[in-house]
């Protein structure tokens, strides 16, 4: 595909401070120039066309991000007391952040780490290449100069949720930012992350975020993502996680913002007894397009995944959900559950859902289901018959449909924040 976007973004790659990084960037760049962006003939992009995005000419990076003023309202809805790392257009902003001083918890920006301790992130830049389908990961490797590097030492349980805030702020022109988040929990560690994507004001930037995450034996990572990026913006987000023995990863995702979203979540259950719980909602309107791809691999015995996603598409929006679970040979005793229910609120909206289950092991428990439907007319009539106006009843039922996914979120304050983002009045959602 002809891609002015790539020409602009790859013209002037950032200088690399260390040789191995220079090599990794050059290799990614070469692959990118060779293969370009995937078109819809590439299976993973079947329902999401990059044609419009590929035609855009965006600035590579925001040169002014380090000092760009950000309105206080951008941080509304973010717990002011809790520790946080704040990024503006992909650049770490120490002035807006509040870093905790906790033994065993290390938080650094990627830019800082690349200068002072590049070996700490070497492995994370030297990972596999996923082919043309992962063109944005290549672009990220080639261009990401900042991001977050988190490390929790063995046995350290961090109780206060750590907030990671990505603020999109208007600049002189629309731009692309590339950031990388590297997270490592050593054995027995525990951490709660709350990731926010918010807008300072209207813009049409492209964010390209790549997350690499290692959860050590018996460690627990709870991670909630509230994506409420600027209505005109695009966000490409790929998260890769590897779970060691008896590790747990609990993800809650709420996508309501941005114009164009692609979210890939690839999790390897690599150690016996590793467990993934993923709960997600996308709620779309206008001409929003959101594509969620889950790719879970059971690679060890007695591993479990429990995936529950719901989608709502109103007006002319389009949702795509692809949930793939692979149970590898030898991953006996695996338990895989996937449910994706969707609600179409308009005849012009569209949702494509595709669960894929591949089993190559014995004694596994696996179930998957996907539905696309409309609001329950009986429930609608029940609410109206009690005096609730039709439009309010529809809104309430839609919010409730989504809220069910977040029923077991802890802590309660986070759950309430997720429900509030769904737009329900206080106390409406059970």
């Amino acid at each position: 595909m002809e891609a002015p976007l790539l020409d602009a973004l790859t013209a002037d790659p950032p200088a690399a401070a260390v040789p191995w990084l220079g090599q990794a960037r050059a290799a990614a760049l070469a692959a990118l120039r060779r293969d370009g962006l995937p078109d819809t003939r590439v299976e993973a992009w079947k329902y999401t066309s990059l044609r419009a995005l590929a035609q855009r000419r965006l600035l590579r990076d925001d040169a002014g991000a380090a000092t760009r003023p950000v309105g206080a309202q951008a941080l509304d809805g973010i717990d002011a007391q809790a520790p946080r790392m704040v990024f503006v257009n992909g650049r770490f902003r120490a002035d807006l952040s509040r870093l905790p001083d906790l033994a065993g918890l290390t938080l650094r920006s990627l830019a800082d780490t690349l200068v002072h301790d590049p070996e700490a992130v070497r492995a994370a830049f030297a990972q596999r290449d996923g082919g043309v389908a992962e063109a944005f990961a290549r672009l990220n490797t080639a261009a990401a100069a900042d991001g977050a590097v988190l490390h929790v030492a063995a046995g350290v349980q961090v109780s206060a949720p750590l907030q990671i805030v990505w603020i999109g702020a208007p600049a002189e022109a629309d731009l692309a930012w590339h950031a990388r988040m590297l997270i490592e929990l050593e054995a027995g560690a525990a951490l709660t992350l709350v990731e926010h994507h918010v807008a300072d004001a209207a813009h049409a930037h492209l964010g390209n975020l790549l997350v690499r995450c290692v959860v050590g034996a018996g460690a627990t990572l709870a991670w909630a993502t509230l994506q409420d990026a600027a209505p005109g913006s695009s966000l490409i987000r790929r998260s890769e996680a590897t779970l060691a023995e008896a590790a747990q990863l609990r993800l809650h995702t709420l996508e309501t913002g941005a114009q164009f979203v692609r979210h890939d979540l690839a999790v390897d259950l690599a150690g016996d007894g590793a467990r993934l719980v993923s709960r997600g909602v996308f709620a779309l309107r206008g001409r929003q397009h959101a594509d969620t791809h889950l790719d879970v691999r059971h690679l060890a015995r007695d591993t479990a995944c429990d995936l529950v996603w719901r989608g709502v598409a109103d007006e002319r929006s389009r949702g795509v959900f692809h949930g793939a679970i692979t149970i590898a040979p030898g991953a006996d005793g695996s338990d895989a559950q996937l449910s994706n229910k969707n609600l179409l609120l308009s005849p012009n909206a569209e949702i494509d859902t595709q669960p894929v289950l591949e089993i190559h092991a014995d004694e596994v428990k696996a179930a998957h289901g996907a539905t696309v439907g409309q609001l329950d007319e009986r429930a609608l009539f029940y609410l109206r018959s009690r005096g609730i106006p039709a439009e309010d009843a529809r809104t309430l039922l839609t919010q409730a449909f989504c809220a069910a996914v977040f029923a077991d979120v802890e802590p309660v304050a986070l759950r309430e924040r997720l429900l509030a983002r769904l737009g329900g009045p206080d106390g409406a959602l059970a």
């Binding site: 009539f381 029940y382 609410l383 009690r386 005096g387 309430l396 409730a400 059970a430």
Partner: protein, 253 residues
Amino acid sequence: MLKIDNLQVRVAGKDIIKGLDLEIRAGEVHAIMGPNGAGKSTLGHVLAGREGYEVTGGSVTFEGIDLLALEPEARAAAGVFLAFQYPVEIPGVNNTYFLRAALNAQRKQRGEAELDSMQFLKRVREKLAVLHLKDELLHRAVNEGFSGGEKKRNEIFQMALLEPKLAILDETDSGLDIDALKMVAHGVNAMRDPGRAFLLITHYQRLLDYIVPDVVHVLADGRIVESGDKSLALKLEEHGYAWVAERKLAGAG
């Protein structure tokens, strides 16, 4: 209060109600009995405004206004309440929120002040006690995980809270054990009032032992074929619905 004149209703292309006349005055309790398929539940749904019921003839006036012209929520605000035969489970919607939203939506449509949460909770506690419902039901989702009996009692609880002028109870007795039936009856009887009317739709006479009606109607094949006082219910219980059909045929001949 309610005047139904020659009502005809079609559902899915089939005539179900075929010329029904009924008049209910304030303060009265009417019971409509009849065999399965006679059109009893259709009548309840049409009065509450459910979609999919095509009125092909006749009229329904409620306190002088054309009830059939109103949206379901406007009927509720006007004072019509339907206790569902099968109350709907609504996962994710908090019961307390639902009740308060319903009450305040009705009050708003009537131009009355909305209740604040203190006033609302006071009212809720009074009504809960009458129906022996546990507080805990308030914190759950609407009807979700409620037993059959709890659902029916929750309907009556909603009625008590919303204080309608006309309450239509659609087979509220079905599936209730005797204790639950007594609680439901107690809840209804506590609300009997010169300004309020009830229409009890039921298949069995049993409910009428506890809620004594002023008038009993027999509905068969989409029409009221017989009306009388409470003794009519006892006769039906004794002779069965076949007896009505025979009398109807005899009358026609």
